[in-house]
């Protein structure tokens, strides 16, 4: 199971937990498993077929350009983080 770190402002959906476990070989599958455990969280993370525009996902410390398609290993650490775009984050 991957270790999924929940942004502070979504912890109301996970009973206040900052970290939960979820299964999946991609971020998309991990989100589906999160939704199964914590209904309502998918809508806050995903917009249609992509991550919400203000979010990025980091797997094992690296922000992924692939988003929901990024591969997740059984012991991966998954973070949903604020997107850094443009000149920033650019």
């Amino acid at each position: 199971m991957a270790e999924v770190h929940i942004p502070a402002m979504l912890r109301e959906l996970t009973g206040g937990r900052a970290m939960v476990e979820a299964a999946g070989s991609t971020v998309r599958e991990v989100v589906e498993d999160l939704e199964r455990q914590w209904p309502g969280i998918r809508e806050r993370l995903v917009d249609g077929t992509r991550l919400r525009a203000n979010l990025s996902v980091a797997v094992d410390g690296e922000v992924s350009p692939l988003g929901l398609a990024e591969a997740v290993e059984p012991l991966s650490e998954v973070h949903f983080v604020a997107a850094i775009k443009g000149g920033a984050p650019t």
């Binding site: 919400r52 980091a58 920033a88």
Partner: protein, 749 residues
């Protein structure tokens, strides 16, 4: 530290674009010429906040020589919709509304209409004939004021979002985000020393020397051709296509040479307007901003209000850190407060952290990126408090930072753990640097230090390399060259190809000539486009080996290639010799590289500064300044040093002088370089540099971007130096003579 030796990487060849730039032959945005070219002028709002009741362009159109006038009504009309143009979802009405105001003007300098005419003078005269009837509205200019109940609303329909989720709270707060880790109350309870301070920073501009300039031709075949000064030709293409509601394939954007950007030339201001004018009159139209236009009509970096609270034990370990950041977004959401919040404690390993940040709209120009956007404001606050705690604990300020420094495995408050980083190495280099260990003698003098962080980013890049018969190669890439990146990219290709940097002829392609490449920004260019060049060069080498194998009748796998020499047994050919035989072995060789890489690898930077404060006038003189930064691997050390010096100087200007000096009704009163005081070579000593190399495991050569982290620590380091020189803790930027004197007098009282 990097000890890998390369043939090309790490050397200092002459830059490929140097001759054109020092002889004045390089062509910048305003230099573009075309047959039948018209000149344009943009009419801008004299009010910081007003309703537009009526626009009458008839007198302007009637002026002889005027060929077209446009207003927001000339944009495609229709219901508002959300678009993602690289900065998250935004209403297209905001994007179009910043190009040409519709309904309301939101800041002084907001574009309202534009004219194209046969001469610049006629265009300016015609702009003056456009009649705009305004209903002035009360304005709001700072984040704390805009957050108050009953403050004038910049956007009547704006609702606060929380992590992108709309709430029902109306007001000027566009976004609230929170980062939290550990138990903040327990962390402060465990502290022996707690310091809490408030800070304010003024709006400042990137100050690029070349004003924005764009020429557009809406051609008879329906294609739109644009030549402009931009940090991202593909962003210009995509934004222009979006606001004009045409396919991207109908646009071709050619980036001209660029005279600085620092994040401020990612946003599009002129190109769609020039295109609209051209569509109306069928001729190419050039728009060039004045310096006043640049200050009043483009995006500076946000002013901010920040509160920081840090607790530490007597053994020098930080137990908790808390921050509240409210940044001025300007007229539209997007103040870069989020990266500021993510960077504010990024240099430290702290178990208990709570950060709240607010993106607040005000009646100033929409703010944009400026070199490590958001991070300099944040570091000014955090690093000043860190310095104060070190003093209370009687610890050397660098030693205190080292005891808490982030390292591989440290978790940042916004989530991920660091991979290999160079924070400790930067601090150790500072501690051992001759500057830090030199005596500082004389009255009213003080030394200060600070560190800062910037993430750096990846994003897509493309590169093509074609081999010439004389053994040189032509390299086309998509990143506008602002700081010598053409050469740093060419050097990475040369290293792989085993040829000299001078044998690579690099150029920046237009949007028809090269694959999608994101903007030059986020310190990504040498990292990501360099990686694309590495891939393209690998592709060339694979094909070159196949050609050699064909000549020698051997398996390509049996060919070795080192430093430009292909070998198989007794057979050998240099790169140049093999390049001369491409026609007979199958034809031209073109290599391609296209990447969207992870692993950008953040960069840490530190500043050491000595100042002298005149106690009678408050003038601060920089006596000595040293910039230290982790470059991962410095591809071209001279350019890395140049980035460190440039970022440091901009940080010094931000610290001591620069600010949008605003009237109470929202007018910028110093919108020229005579009054907006940026440091010059006459104001500063030579900026010393020390490059630290902790290779980035996420890049073939270990590169970390170096364009931004260097601007983050200077204001805090200077504030800390001023404290030691004059005994006053400065908590407001700029720290100009009036501010220093006020602080000295307050202390005497």
């Amino acid at each position: 530290m990097s000890d890998r030796q390369y043939a090309v990487v790490g050397t200092r060849p002459v830059r490929h674009d140097g001759a054109d730039k020092v002889t004045g032959r390089a062509l910048y945005g305003a230099d573009f010429q075309a047959a039948d070219l018209l000149h344009g002028c943009v009419l801008r709002s004299p009010h910081s906040h007003a309703r537009i009741l009526r626009i009458d362009t008839s007198k302007a159109m009637a002026l002889p020589g005027v060929k077209a006038v446009v207003t927001a009504a000339d944009f495609p009309q229709g219901p508002d919709r959300m678009v993602d143009l690289g900065d998250g979802d935004v209403p297209i009405s905001y994007v179009r509304g910043n190009l040409l105001a519709s309904g309301k003007v939101l800041y002084r300098g907001h574009a309202v209409a534009a004219v194209a005419a046969v001469s610049q003078h006629i265009a300016e005269e015609a702009a003056g004939l456009i009649e705009v009837e305004y209903q002035p509205l009360p304005c709001v200019l700072t984040a704390p004021e805009a957050m108050q109940e009953g403050a004038p609303l910049v956007h009547e329909d704006l609702k606060t979002k929380e992590l992108g989720q709309p709430t029902d709270r109306a007001g000027n707060v566009a976004e609230h985000l929170r980062f939290a880790m550990g138990d903040i109350d327990a962390g402060f309870a465990a502290a022996d020393v707690v310091v809490e301070r408030e800070f304010r920073t003024a709006t400042v501009h990137q100050g690029y020397i070349e004003p924005h300039a764009a020429t557009a031709l809406w051609n008879n075949d329906g294609r739109v051709l644009i030549w402009c000064s931009t940090q991202g030709a593909f962003i210009v293409r995509d934004v222009t296509a979006c606001v004009l509601d045409i396919p991207v394939s109908r646009l071709k954007v050619t980036p001209m040479e660029i005279g600085g950007g620092f994040g401020g030339k990612i946003t599009v201001y002129l190109e769609p307007v020039a295109a609209l004018l051209s569509r109306k009159c069928g001729r190419p139209v050039k728009l060039v901003m004045t310096r006043k236009d640049v200050f009043e009509g483009t995006g500076p970096t946000p002013g901010s209000f920040i509160r920081v609270k840090i607790g530490a034990r007597n053994d020098g370990r930080i137990t908790a850190a808390q921050a509240y950041l409210a940044y001025e977004a300007g007229a539209n959401p997007g103040s870069m407060v989020v990266p500021g919040a993510m960077c504010i404690f990024a240099a430290y390993d702290i178990a208990n952290v709570a950060i709240d940040c607010y993106d607040v709209v005000v009646n100033k120009p929409s703010t944009q990126a400026y070199r490590a956007p958001g991070a300099t404001n944040a570091a000014f606050a955090a690093e000043t408090v860190v310095d104060e705690i070190a003093e209370k604990l009687a610890l050397d300020p660098i030693e205190f930072r080292l005891r808490n420094a982030a390292k591989e495995g440290t978790r940042r408050a916004d989530g991920p753990k660091y991979r290999r980083i160079g924070c400790v190495e930067v601090l150790e280099t500072m501690k051992q640097h001759p500057h830090y260990n030199a005596p500082l003698e004389g009255p009213h003098r003080g030394r200060g230090v600070a560190v800062g962080f910037w993430f750096n980013i990846g994003f897509p890049s493309s590169c093509n390399i074609s081999v010439n018969a004389d053994g040189t190669v032509n390299l086309v890439e998509g990143s506008t060259d602002i700081g010598g990146s053409r050469t740093s990219i060419a050097m990475q290709a040369a290293e792989v190809l085993g040829i000299a940097a001078e044998d690579v002829n690099p150029s920046v392609g237009d949007t028809d000539s090269i694959g999608y490449t994101s903007m030059t920004g986020g310190s990504r260019t040498t990292f990501a486009t360099g990686w694309a060049a590495w891939e393209a060069a690998q592709d060339v080498m694979r094909q070159m080996k196949e050609r050699a194998a064909k000549l020698w009748g051997v398996d390509p796998a049996a060919i070795t290639a080192e430093t430009g020499l292909f070998r198989s047994g007794e057979n050998k050919l240099t790169f140049r010799e093999l390049a001369a035989r491409l026609v007979e072995t199958g034809g031209p060789i073109v290599g391609r590289g296209a990447v969207n890489p992870k692993g950008a690898g953040g960069s840490f930077a530190g500043s050491i500064v000595d100042v002298e404060v005149d106690p009678e006038t408050g003038k601060v003189s920089i006596l000595r300044f040293t910039s230290v930064q982790d470059a991962g691997k410095a591809i071209h050390p001279s350019y890395v040093e140049g980035q460190m010096q440039g970022g440091s100087v901009q940080g010094i200007g931000w610290a001591l002088n620069e600010e949008y000096f605003m009237s109470s009704d929202g007018a910028m009163l110093n919108s020229s370089f005579l009054d907006y005081r940026m440091p010059t070579a006459l104001d500063l000593p030579m900026i010393d540099t020390a490059i630290v190399e902790v290779p980035n495991p996420g890049h073939p050569f270990g590169v970390r971007g170096v364009g931004e982290a260097n601007i983050v620590p200077p204001p805090a380091a200077i504030a800390n130096a001023i404290y030691r020189a004059a005994g006053v803790r400065m908590r407001r930027l700029p720290m100009n003579p009036p501010a220093i004197m006020e602080a000295i007098w307050d202390q005497r009282d």
